[in-house]
């Protein structure tokens, strides 16, 4: 019994990237002899299944229930799939929707849950790698169980490629409608303001290190001098200092400017997910161990309140 089942994710008619990374992680755990099963729940399941039929996928189970994600439906369907397939491991994306059903599913199945997994090592016993202490350390976590539910961090495994020859099977499940206690009533795009940071060539991006709202002045002065656009990391938007449409990151926008200047930004994984595609990344942060320096091309480890005005001066 070393089959692995992964639950793919889609939203508003499109499979999300992590859905193609899941089979790669599954194959690692299934070895050569185990089967990789994918589940596609809701939406245009046949079209999704055709897209997911890539190298290394053995079976794709389609469940045509609803259009969009509903955690009650997902939980019930996966419970039934697990009962039918008896996989050793169940994988889900570490995403907002993954977080909305995986913990409940683990509870119902009685499986241990490890979330936000970045690597797996299966040598008889399963040991996974995930971050602890706010990303400052990496921990090995041993799973003391034959079975487990894991959510995997997007972007950590290569997407499965190539044409596959998976069996595509419709999976019938009798839903208990009375257990569906939440209803999705719609979607909303946030912060469609007049500035589109995803279109900017040069972004001057500000984070928690700016400390106070009034200190934003030096950021806007630099942006003016460089004819650049101001963006930010999450805490600045949470504080209400800049509108949501300026936020770079997982919950904000993905940007790919020519130059990205990260000022007082530590570089948490959620932020990096939104800007790692920038051509040149420059970090100004007085903490030499800040994770932003893992992806920056250039850095100044110094007080931003000294460096930023000095840089503005150079262009005035």
């Amino acid at each position: 019994m070393s089959d692995v089942l992964a639950i793919t994710e889609h939203r508003r008619g499109e499979l999300r990237d992590v859905s193609f990374e899941l089979p790669t992680a599954c194959r690692e755990l299934a070895g050569e002899s185990g089967d990789v099963h994918l589940a596609v729940i809701g939406g245009d399941v046949d079209a999704f299944a055709a897209e997911l039929d890539r190298d290394g996928v053995d079976v794709i189970h389609t469940v045509a229930e609803g259009e969009e994600f509903n955690h009650d439906v997902y939980t019930q369907v996966v419970e039934a799939l697990v009962a039918a397939l008896e996989p050793r491991y169940v994988l889900a994306p570490h995403s907002v929707n993954g977080l909305d059903y995986a913990p409940a599913l683990a509870q119902r199945l009685g499986y241990p849950l490890v979330t936000d997994v970045v690597a797996c090592d299966l040598d008889g016993e399963l040991t996974v790698t995930r971050e602890l202490y706010n990303g400052k350390t990496e921990a090995g976590v041993a799973v003391e169980s034959e079975l487990a539910l894991l959510t995997i961090r997007p972007g950590e495994w290569e997407p499965a490629e190539g044409a596959g020859d998976a069996r595509i099977e419709a999976f019938d499940v009798e839903l208990d409608e009375s257990a569906v206690g939440s209803t999705v009533t719609g979607f909303e795009e946030v912060g469609a303001g007049d500035v589109d940071i995803s279109e900017a060539d040069v972004l001057v991006s500000v984070g928690r290190g700016i400390q106070e709202e009034e200190n934003l002045d030096i950021i806007f002065e630099l942006a003016d001098a460089l004819e650049a656009t101001v963006s930010s990391s999450r805490p600045i938007v949470d504080n209400g200092w800049l509108p949501p449409d300026r936020q770079v990151g997982q919950s904000g926008k993905q940007v790919t400017p020519e130059v990205y200047i990260a000022i007082g930004i530590s570089g948490a994984v959620q932020h990096v997910a939104g800007m790692k595609g920038a051509e040149t990344i420059i970090a100004i942060n007085d903490d030499p161990s800040a994770p932003i320096y893992d992806i920056a091309d250039y850095g100044i480890v110094d007080d931003l309140f000294d460096v930023v005005p000095a840089l503005t001066e150079q262009f005035s």
Binding site: P103, T137, G181, Q314
Partner: protein
């Protein structure tokens, strides 16, 4: 109406720290109220301010040290607090979400809240699983990663916005009783007033053991095997020599890249 708020004390490591076995040496750690839970607590207090007649109870799994953090919540406006702990919990190096959920469910069964608010995740562990696991344990409804909440107490429905990735929000109606996991930015958490801080000293803070809650801890399902600083793949060119000198070098680079006013 009663709102239960799950509150965790989290450890923040200094910029420079040393690892001692499977933990960061205490000397390099600062303990504080988890940021997400601070927003959850604020949301509960605002519900009381909007609806009247709402009791706000906080619950924490943690050692005696956490009482300072718990008092912070009482100072901000929680009515009373419960702390769950015993020696067996203290001996675990990693508390999995299933165990947390069963302990918190033990408290919830005694308290019978209409609504449970929980931070999306803790800053240090970031499993992001406790709230939803708790809902499943209790048979409550739930919604994860909520950044807007409108409560219709009469109809028993919470209309929420869930913050999905990429600037999209999902609008969902959830029947009470429910657990909502609260995202940062949903409100503006208040600072405790001096009066609040004084009052917090006399507000009830009950300590319960798993046994008193009727929760039997099983064998640990997860254990730590290693803890290390991640290897950096850093390939940074640093500009040095003080702010003016480094700014001059950076300006030169920016001009090479065609950035110029």
């Amino acid at each position: 109406m009663k709102v239960l708020v799950t509150v965790a004390e989290v450890a923040e490591a200094d910029d420079e720290f040393e690892i001692d076995g499977l933990t960061i040496d205490d000397r390099y750690l600062t303990f504080d109220l988890n940021e997400w839970d601070n927003y959850a607590l604020e949301e509960a207090i605002q519900l009381r301010e909007a609806l009247g007649e709402v009791e706000v109870v906080s619950v924490t799994i943690g050692p005696e040290r956490a009482e300072e953090t718990i008092r912070q919540g009482l100072a901000k406006g929680a009515d009373r607090a419960i702390r769950v702990w015993d020696d067996e919990l203290a001996a675990l190096d990693l508390l999995d979400s299933g165990t947390k959920a069963s302990l918190l469910a033990g408290v919830a069964r005694e308290e019978e809240p209409d609504l449970i608010l929980s931070g999306v995740q803790s800053a240090d562990g970031a499993f992001g699983a406790t709230g939803v696991a708790l809902a499943a344990e209790l048979g409550y409804q739930w919604a994860a990663v909520v950044n807007q909440l409108d409560l219709d107490a009469d109809d028993g429905v919470a209309s929420v916005h869930r913050e999905l990735e990429g600037g999209v929000e999902e609008l969902t109606d959830v029947e009470l009783p429910a657990v909502l996991t609260i995202q940062t930015g949903i409100n503006e958490p208040r600072y405790a007033s001096l009066r609040g801080i004084r009052q917090a000293q006399t507000k009830p803070l009950d300590v319960k053991t798993p046994e008193e809650l009727g929760v039997e801890l099983g064998e640990p399902v997860l254990s730590l095997t290693s803890l290390a600083e991640p290897e950096t793949e850093s390939d940074v060119t640093y500009f040095e020599g003080g702010a003016d000198e480094s700014a001059t070098q950076l300006a030169e680079l920016l001009r090479e890249r065609g950035v110029d006013a």
